[in-house]
C-alpha cells in the first residue's frame, strides 16, 4: 500500500518540470496603443508621496490630451513589502501590475536574471527615449548582452546634510571639509554632552557606516569591477573599512541603527548634527522625519568633494503583462521618466532627483529651497549628479552587500582589522558565486 502510494507520488512529481516551460515562448508581437479602447494601468511602488505626485503629473494636459484612454492607479506597500511582493510575482512568472517600480539595489538581480520586458526593443525603443537620461542610470539597467530591462526615473546624488544651528554653535564650517581627517576633526567638536550629565547626547553622524557608503558609491553598485572580480579594486573596499574604523575610533557617531526609530528621532531632536545621504533624504526630513527643523538644515559636498550615488529608482514592465497592455504601460513610464513636468514635480515636491540631464540647467535648479533656509541646494545636487561615478551592477550585488555589511560590523564590534575583514568577506563571496 505504502509502496504504491510512493510510486504514485513519484510519478506525479516527474511531471512537474513541464509546468515551467510555459515561459520560454518567443517574443510576442506588441501592438501599439489602441486609441479606441481604454487602459487601466496599475503601478506598484513603495512611496505614497511619490505615487501621489505621479498621479498629479499624470492628470496634466500633456498626458491626458495625448492619452485620454489611459488611467493609472498606484499600489503602495512598505519598502520591503513592495519589493518582496514584486519579486515573488515576477519569480512566479505572473504579473499583477503592469508597472513595477524597483529600487536600484533590487534591479541588479533582474538585469541578468530576467523576468522583465526588454525595453530596448520595438515598439518601446527605450535607448532612443532615454538618450537624455544620465548615462550611469541607463547603464545599470542594461544587461551584458545589451538588453534594457528597466527605465530610470530618479537618481540620488549623495551630499552632506547638516544642522546649521548645531555646527554654528560648535564653530565648524561644513562647507570647508577637504579631507576625511578634517571631517573627523569637525565631528569631534560636534560630539558633545549638551546637558552636562556626563553622557554624550549630541553626535556628528548617526552611524559610522554612513562614511563607508561614499567610497562604495552608495553601496548599490560597483561590488565587482568591470571584469567581474568581486570586491575589486581592493583599495576602495579597504578604504571604506578604514574610514568606518576611523569614525568609530574618534567616537563621533551615535551608533544608531539605520532606519531604526531612534535613528529617525535623532534627526528631529538634534541628537545628530549631520548625515551623508541621497538628495531624496532631504524630502524625507522635510515631510515626515523632522518637519519642525525647517530652515535649519543645509547641504554641503561630501568631504573632499567626493561624488557618490545613494539610491535611485527604476520602472519595469514584468514579462507576463499581457502584450496588448505593454505599450500603454510604456507610455506611462516614458511620461514619468522623461517629461519635464513629471520629472520636475517629483523633484520639487519629493526631492527625487531627475534622471533627465536636460533638466540640470533648468531655472528650478537655481531656486533657493525654504527647508534649507533658502540655500540653493539643487545646484549642489545637480553638480554631483553630473559627476556621478558609473559603477557596474551585478546579479550578486545583494549578497555582496550583505557580506560586506557584516565585514563592516566585524571591524566595528569585534575589532577585526580592515585587511582581515576584507579577506573573510572575499572568501565568503567567492564561495557563493564560484
Amino acid at each position: 500500500m505504502e509502496k504504491k502510494l510512493l510510486l504514485m507520488v513519484m510519478s506525479i512529481f516527474s511531471l512537474f518540470p513541464m509546468f515551467s516551460e510555459g515561459q520560454q515562448e518567443g517574443p510576442k508581437q506588441i501592438p501599439p496603443v489602441d486609441m479606441d479602447r481604454t487602459y487601466e494601468i496599475t503601478v506598484g511602488t513603495w512611496s505614497q508621496q511619490l505615487a501621489d505626485t505621479y498621479a498629479e503629473s499624470l492628470k496634466s494636459a500633456e498626458f491626458t490630451s495625448k492619452f485620454p484612454n489611459i488611467s493609472v492607479s498606484f499600489m503602495v506597500a512598505d519598502f520591503s513589502g513592495h519589493h518582496s511582493r514584486a519579486v515573488t510575482t515576477i519569480a512566479a512568472g505572473e504579473a499583477t501590475n503592469q508597472i513595477e517600480m524597483l529600487e536600484v539595489a533590487q534591479i541588479a538581480k533582474f538585469v541578468e536574471g530576467g523576468g522583465l520586458t526588454y525595453l530596448d526593443e520595438a515598439p518601446f525603443n527605450g535607448f532612443e527615449a532615454g538618450k537624455d537620461i544620465v548615462d550611469f542610470a541607463m547603464g545599470n539597467a542594461t544587461s551584458e548582452s545589451g538588453k534594457l530591462v528597466a527605465f530610470p526615473v530618479d537618481i540620488a546624488p549623495a551630499v552632506l546634510f547638516y544642522r546649521k544651528s548645531i555646527t554654528d554653535a560648535a564653530g565648524v564650517d561644513m562647507t570647508k571639509l577637504n579631507t576625511w581627517d578634517q571631517f573627523i576633526e569637525a565631528g569631534k567638536k560636534l560630539t558633545i554632552d549638551k546637558d552636562g550629565d556626563g553622557v554624550i547626547d549630541q553626535y556628528a553622524i548617526t552611524h559610522a557606516v554612513e562614511v563607508s557608503n561614499v567610497p562604495l558609491n552608495g553601496g548599490m553598485a560597483g561590488w565587482f569591477d568591470r571584469e567581474g572580480n568581486p570586491f575589486e579594486p581592493k583599495e576602495k573596499f579597504i578604504l571604506a573599512l578604514e574610514l568606518v574604523k576611523m569614525v568609530r575610533d574618534a567616537g563621533i557617531d551615535g551608533d544608531l541603527g539605520t532606519w531604526s526609530p531612534p535613528w529617525l528621532q535623532a534627526y528631529a531632536d538634534g541628537t545628530v548634527a549631520a548625515t551623508i545621504n541621497g538628495a531624496w533624504f532631504g524630502g524625507g526630513l522635510e515631510t515626515w522625519i523632522a518637519p519642525e527643523t525647517k530652515g535649519d538644515w543645509r547641504v554641503a559636498y561630501i568631504p573632499g568633494k567626493s561624488y557618490a550615488s545613494m539610491g535611485g529608482s527604476y520602472f519595469t514592465i514584468p514579462e507576463q503583462v499581457p502584450a496588448d497592455e505593454k505599450a500603454a504601460a510604456w507610455e506611462v513610464i516614458k511620461f514619468l521618466s522623461t517629461s519635464d513636468i513629471a520629472q520636475l514635480a517629483s523633484f520639487v515636491e519629493q526631492a527625487a532627483f531627475p534622471v533627465m540631464t536636460t533638466l540640470y540647467d533648468h531655472p528650478v535648479m537655481n531656486e533657493g529651497v525654504e527647508f534649507f533656509g533658502g540655500q540653493k541646494v539643487r545646484q549642489i545636487f545637480a553638480d554631483v549628479a553630473r559627476n556621478m561615478p558609473n559603477d557596474p551592477v551585478s546579479e550578486f550585488d545583494p549578497i555582496a552587500r550583505a557580506i560586506f555589511g557584516n565585514a563592516t560590523t566585524m571591524v566595528l564590534v569585534e575589532g577585526l582589522s580592515p585587511e582581515e575583514a576584507y579577506q573573510d568577506a572575499l572568501n565568503e563571496l567567492m564561495a557563493v558565486i564560484e
Binding site: 507520488v9 506525479i12 512529481f13 511531471l15 512537474f16 518540470p17 509546468f19 515551467s20 515561459q23 520591503s80 518582496s84 519579486v87 515573488t88 515576477i90 519569480a91 512568472g93 538581480k109 533582474f110 536574471g113 530576467g114 523576468g115 551615535g254 551608533d255 544608531l256 541603527g257 532606519w259 531604526s260 526609530p261 531612534p262 514579462e319 546579479e395 550578486f396 545583494p398 549578497i399 552587500r401 550583505a402 557580506i403 555589511g405 557584516n406 560590523t409 566585524m410 566595528l412 564590534v413 569585534e414 572568501n427 565568503e428 564561495a431 557563493v432 564560484e434
Partner: protein, 308 residues
C-alpha cells in the same frame, strides 16, 4: 433492521462512506494546496532556477554544493540547532515548573496568571518588532538601561555581537512561547488524578519529590508532544530573526550569527534570486527535522522501556 440497511444506501448516511467524505476536504486541500507546491519545489531544487525560472538541470549539484562548499549553510544549521536548544527547548524548563506551580490547588488568581501567560502568544510579528526593537535598542532600550544604570554593567550590543544576536533571538522565542507551553502543561496536569498527590503527601513526599515521582512520569506523553512541536518549530525559526536583524540585507548579522536555515532559504530564494538552491536548502532542512524527530522518538521509546 430494515431501517438500517436503507440508511446504508443513502449518501452521507452510510457509516462506511461517511469517514471518507468527512476526511475528503483535507485530502482535496492537500492535493490542491500541498502536493503541487511540494512537487514544484522538489523540482526546482534540481535546477539552476533564478528569478526568471529554470535555467539548466543540475541534478544534485545544489545539494552537494550546500553540503560541501557553501560558506553559510552548515553555519545556519548550527544556528538553528542552537536556537532550537536555547530558544525552543529551554522554554520547557521554565514552562513545566510554572505549570506545576499554577496547578497547585491553593494558588489564588490562577485565572489571572493563565491569561497573562497567554498574552505573548497573541502578538503578531509586527507588534513584536515594535516592542523588541525598543527593548533591544543599544542606546535607548530597556535592557541596556537596566544593565548600565541599575546593575552598572557594560551595555550589550544586542544586535551586533554574534553571541548577543543569538541570545536576543532566544530571549524573544522564550518570551513568546513559554506561556503557551505553560498552559498546555497546566492542561495536562489537570488530567492527573489528585488523589495520587494526596496519597504521596500522606507518605510524606515533598512537593519536589511529588513533581519528580508523579507529575513528570505522567506528563511524559505531553512533554513528548510539545517537544516534537518545538523541534519542528524551533528549527524553522524565521520571523523573529528576520525582523530583529533588519531583513535580508544583513544576512543575520556578523558571522551570520542570526541566520537560521529557514532565514537562509528565504534569502536565497527571494533576495538573491536563487530559487533552486533555496528549495534545496528547504528540503535539506526537512530531512534534518525528520532525523531529529526520529532521534527524539528513539530516546522517548528508550525512556518508556526504562520506566516500564
Amino acid at each position: 433492521m430494515p431501517k438500517r440497511s436503507l440508511r446504508k444506501t443513502s449518501f452521507l448516511g452510510s457509516q462506511k462512506l461517511a469517514p471518507y467524505v468527512f476526511i475528503s476536504p483535507f485530502i482535496i486541500s492537500f492535493l490542491v494546496f500541498g502536493l503541487y507546491p511540494i512537487g514544484y519545489s522538489i523540482t526546482m531544487s534540481f535546477w539552476k532556477w533564478t528569478s526568471n525560472g529554470p535555467q539548466e538541470f543540475v541534478g544534485f549539484r545544489n545539494y552537494i554544493k550546500l553540503l560541501t562548499s557553501d560558506p553559510f549553510f552548515l553555519r545556519t544549521l548550527w544556528t538553528s540547532f542552537v536556537l532550537m536548544i536555547f530558544g525552543s527547548g529551554l522554554q520547557h524548563l521554565f514552562a513545566l515548573p510554572l505549570a506545576i506551580f499554577l496547578n497547585d490547588s491553593k494558588i489564588k488568581g490562577k485565572d489571572f496568571f493563565q491569561l497573562t501567560y497567554f498574552l505573548p502568544y497573541i502578538t503578531s510579528t509586527v507588534s513584536i518588532v515594535l516592542i523588541f526593537s525598543q527593548l533591544f535598542d543599544e542606546n535607548y532600550g530597556w535592557l541596556n538601561y537596566i544593565l548600565t544604570s541599575w546593575l552598572h554593567l557594560n551595555p550589550v550590543k544586542w544586535l551586533n555581537n554574534p553571541t548577543a544576536i543569538k541570545t536576543s533571538i532566544a530571549i524573544m522565542l522564550n518570551w513568546r512561547f513559554i506561556g503557551w507551553n505553560t498552559l498546555i502543561y497546566v492542561a495536562g496536569l489537570q488530567s492527573i488524578d489528585r488523589s495520587l498527590y494526596e496519597a504521596a503527601e500522606i507518605d510524606g513526599a515533598s512537593k519536589v519529590q511529588q513533581a519528580i515521582r508523579i507529575t513528570l512520569p505522567l506528563l511524559k506523553p505531553i512533554i513528548f508532544f510539545t517537544l516534537t512541536l518545538s523541534i519542528i518549530g524551533g528549527f524553522q525559526v524565521f520571523d523573529e530573526a528576520f525582523v530583529l536583524l533588519g531583513g535580508y540585507t544583513r544576512m543575520g548579522g556578523p558571522q551570520n550569527a542570526g541566520l537560521t536555515t529557514a532565514f537562509y532559504l528565504m534569502a536565497m530564494g527571494f533576495e538573491f534570486g536563487r530559487l533552486g538552491k533555496g528549495s534545496a536548502v528547504a528540503w535539506l532542512m526537512f530531512i534534518v527535522i525528520i532525523l531529529l524527530n526520529i532521534l527524539h522518538r528513539q530516546i522517548g521509546h528508550r525512556e518508556k522501556r526504562r520506566t516500564a
